[in-house]
Amino acid sequence: MISLQHLHKTFSGASGAVRALDDVSIEVAERQIFGVVGQSGAGKSTLIRTVNLLERPDSGTVAVDGRDLLGLDAQGLRAARHDIGMVFQQFNLLQGRTARGNVELALEIAGVDRVERRRRAGEILDLVGLSSRADSYPAQLSGGQKQRVGIARALASNPKVLLSDEATSALDPETMRSILELIRTIRDELGLTVLLITHEMDVIKRICDSAALLESGRIVEQGRLADVITTPGSRLAADLFPLHDLPPDVSGTVVDITFSGGSADRPVIAQLARTHGFDVSILGAAIETIAGKQAGRTRLEIPGSGTAVDAAIADLRSQDLLVEVIHTPSRAAS
């Protein structure tokens, strides 16, 4: 649905040229929620703005719903933008219009007549759960309510794609969750395709089907979350399971075991102790719901090293568990 190919963008700033996008390619399938995560300054904002050409790339292609946006004239681009809704971190609502008025703005711009505007605005405010505040001005609404208006405005012209530019970053955690829930609900009900950018892994974890990690304008890693978490050495997976750094005094072999789907409730530790006779200690663990499924990662320390430990690891791997060896004791110590 969204296809970005080989995007390059360089800004010439006061302190020299800044490479905001460096050969970025992303494919977002229909009805998917795709998250791009990265530090501030990684190029996320530039990336999401190329999708509706608020920012024009220096080179590369941008296609939404099979339509090449860079080839469109001004009028064609405006029409294409009616099919691409966008929500913003700071909501960007008109202070002089009510919630309903802000939603109707989108419809006025799209050339919808007065009666239909009124009907559609009511309908969409109802969908985002804000019918009771339709006549309130933004100054009278909470952050979460403002973002609901922002979402309603973005959805008013029946777009196929929703772009979310840090939509939950200005909100408290509880409100963030309710807004993310809302985005997932509208994806399910309206069959939208969602591209979002965020600096919070929690957002990726909660609603995304796929994710990409952006660093200094480059995509470091991307894929479906279900695949990412079972990919050895995945940076995204490491960020999804926040395990602490190794303590300095570990003496044995340290392994990270990732459980996903069916293996999540397997008695691995008991098995290691019983079958292989190891007294394992747990250094850390994280259980997360990722892409709607339970998944977890446990960091274990197995005393010693050598063939017995290798056999135990091989045994775990044969059970379809992702086992990554994080630390092996040096020869001198063993």
Partner: protein, 248 residues
Amino acid sequence: MIDYSAPDFWPILIQNVLQGLVQTLYMTGVALLVTIVIGLPLGILLVGTERRSFLERIGGSRGLSATINRILNFVVNLGRSVPFIILMIALIPFTRLVIGTFIGTTAAIVPLSVVAIPFFARMVEIAVREIDPGLIEAADSLGATRWQLVSKVLVPETAGALLLGLSTTVTSIINFSAMVGVVGGGGLGQVAYSYGYQRYSTAYIVVVIIVIFVIVMVVQILAGWAARRLAHRIPSTKSRTPLVAPPT
């Protein structure tokens, strides 16, 4: 010298001041209308045609916008820097062309408008510059035309600041309209000049000052009130949501 004790002194004064007031309001009102019609688009263009602004590519050309921007800035600076009394004289041929004469109240509207347009354009420029760039981005994301952006977003969202700028402009037009009076343009300025100065009547000066002061005050208060009404930024206590949700 005017005889204060003459029985018809005050009735004549009131009649003269009223006539001057009507002329001043007429000059100011028409000049203000002209100023809005020309100054508002001018101010918006001044901001919009800047680099990386919302009209940076008029007709798809960045060069055209840059050229328009330079020309407008030059014209506005020129208009702002020429002293009004000189501007008035310099405009005589133009005034004669537009109105047919350069003497009288109607003719005075031309220099008044010419001096007020760049003044108001700068006020509009300041107001539009203050707008949150996020609003322009949001309108762009909705596929707004430039006209929709200006008419549905920029002007309504800056209406409060525009009104305050307009009230400052009105004050300045009234100010200049008094100068017009000295050279035969009529209005309160002429009343003060020909009775107060040339015929040494302090009463005329005092009354004219009071009337002008009242006009300016009324304009400022009305504009301030309307700007607050338009802002919608201060939620009224009645409709504010309670901090604690009622038990369900």
